[in-house]
Symmetry: C2
Subunit: 212 residues, 2 copies
C-alpha cells in the first residue's frame, strides 16, 4: 500500500508517519519510484507498536528507538528476544546505593523470589524490573510502611496470574516477530488498565467494608 493508504488503515496522519520514518521508528518502504514507496502489513504492525510506546507509554523518541532495536534483534532465541524487548522498556527509579533501606529491600526481594520459585534471573544480571521493585520496597520501608515477603506475596501471585494471561494473548500471534511486538505493546498498554482497575476495586471493596 502507499503512504496515504497506510495512513488510512492505521488512522495515523501522513505527516506523523513521515516523522516516524525520518526518526527511523518505522523502516522505509520499498521504493517503487523516485517519489513513491510501497508499505506492507509489517509497517502497519510496527506503526501500532510505535503509537503504543509514544502515545500511551509516553516514551521519548530515543527510548522508543532502543525498544524497537531490541524487538528487531533476530539473533536471539524467542525467550531472550522477549526479555530484551521488555527489559528495554523504561522502568521506575533505581535503588539508591547509599540507602540502608535499599539493602534490606534487596534481601526481601531475593527471599521473595526464592519463596515463589522464580528462577528467570539465575546466572544473569538483576532485571531492571527487579531494581524498580527494590527501590519501591525501600521507599515503603523508609516511609515507615513495613513491606516484607508476606506483604509482597499476594501482589506477586496476582502478577503471576496476570502474566500468564498476558502471554496467552501474545501466543495468539503466529509469528515470533509478531509475538515480540505484541508482548511489548501489551506490556505498555495494559499498565494503565491494571492500575485503574485496582483503584476501582479499592472503591468497590471500600464500599463493601465501610459504607453505611
Amino acid at each position: 500500500m502507499r503512504l496515504a493508504e497506510l495512513s488510512e488503515h492505521s488512522g495515523v496522519p501522513t505527516a506523523t508517519i513521515k516523522y516516524y520514518l525520518r526518526e527511523r521508528l518505522l523502516p522505509p518502504g520499498r521504493r517503487i519510484s523516485a517519489t513513491q514507496a510501497e508499505y506492507g502489513e509489517e509497517h502497519l504492525r510496527r506503526l501500532r507498536l510505535v503509537r503504543a510506546l509514544i502515545q500511551v507509554g509516553r516514551m521519548p523518541v530515543t527510548t522508543a528507538r532502543e525498544v524497537l532495536a531490541a524487538v528487531e534483534d533476530e539473533s536471539l532465541d524467542q525467550h531472550m528476544r522477549l526479555g530484551a524487548a521488555t527489559w528495554s522498556l523504561p522502568q521506575g527509579p533505581e535503588p539508591d546505593e547509599d540507602d540502608p533501606a535499599a539493602e534490606t529491600a534487596r534481601a526481601t526481594v531475593a527471599e521473595l523470589l526464592r519463596q515463589l520459585g522464580w528462577t528467570f534471573e539465575e546466572g544473569g544480571e538483576p532485571s531492571p524490573a527487579r531494581q524498580t521493585l527494590v527501590a519501591s520496597v525501600a521507599a515503603l520501608e523508609r516511609l515507615g510502611y513495613r513491606c516484607d515477603t508476606a506483604h509482597l506475596e499476594p501482589y506477586a501471585r496476582a502478577a503471576a496470574e496476570i502474566a500468564a494471561h498476558d502471554l496467552d494473548l501474545v501466543e495468539e500471534y503466529a509469528q515470533p516477530a509478531e509475538q515480540v511486538e505484541a508482548a511489548v505493546a501489551l506490556t505498555v498498554l495494559y499498565e494503565p488498565v491494571l492500575l485503574s482497575l485496582r483503584r476501582m476495586a479499592h472503591a468497590e471493596e471500600s464500599a463493601r467494608r465501610f459504607a453505611r
Copy 2:
C-alpha cells in the same frame, strides 16, 4: 518534638520540612515561643504521606495539596472519605469524546462492571479511574488489539484480590484518619511494586514457555 527531632525521626531534612510547612502540605506545629513550635505524631505521619505523594508519586505540590485536603475532610463518612482521597489522586488520560473507540470502550467497561457485580459507582459520577480505564481500552482498540470483557476480566479479578489485601493493610491502622492516610500512601506506593512484579512475572512465565 521540635523541628530538629521531627527531621531526625522522619529522615527528612529540616529545610525540606520548612518548605512543606510554607507550602501548607504539613499543618503548623503548636507555637511554644516566638521562634519554636512543637510537633506531634500526626506531623510524623503526615510527613510520610507527603513524601509518598511527592517523591514516589512524583506529584506537583498543588496536586499533593488537593489530595491532602480530601484526606483531611472529616465531614464525610469513612467510605466517602477514602473515596474522596483516592479519587483526588492523579489519574491517567481521559477518553477523547470525539473518538468512536471511546464509545465502544465505554460500553465494554459498563458490561464488565455488570458482570463483576461492582456497584460502587451507582447513582454517582463515573470515577476518575473508570475514565482512565475507558481511555486505556479505547487506546487498545484503536491500535488494533481486541479488548473485550473476556480480556479484561482476569485483570479485574486480580485487581479485586489485590484491593482486598490493600484494605486489610489499611484496616491494621486503628484511627479513621490514619486509615485514610495509609490508603492514599499505599495506593501510590504499591503501584510501582505491582508493575515491576508484573514485568518480573512476564520474564518468569516467558522462561517457562519459551526458553530452550
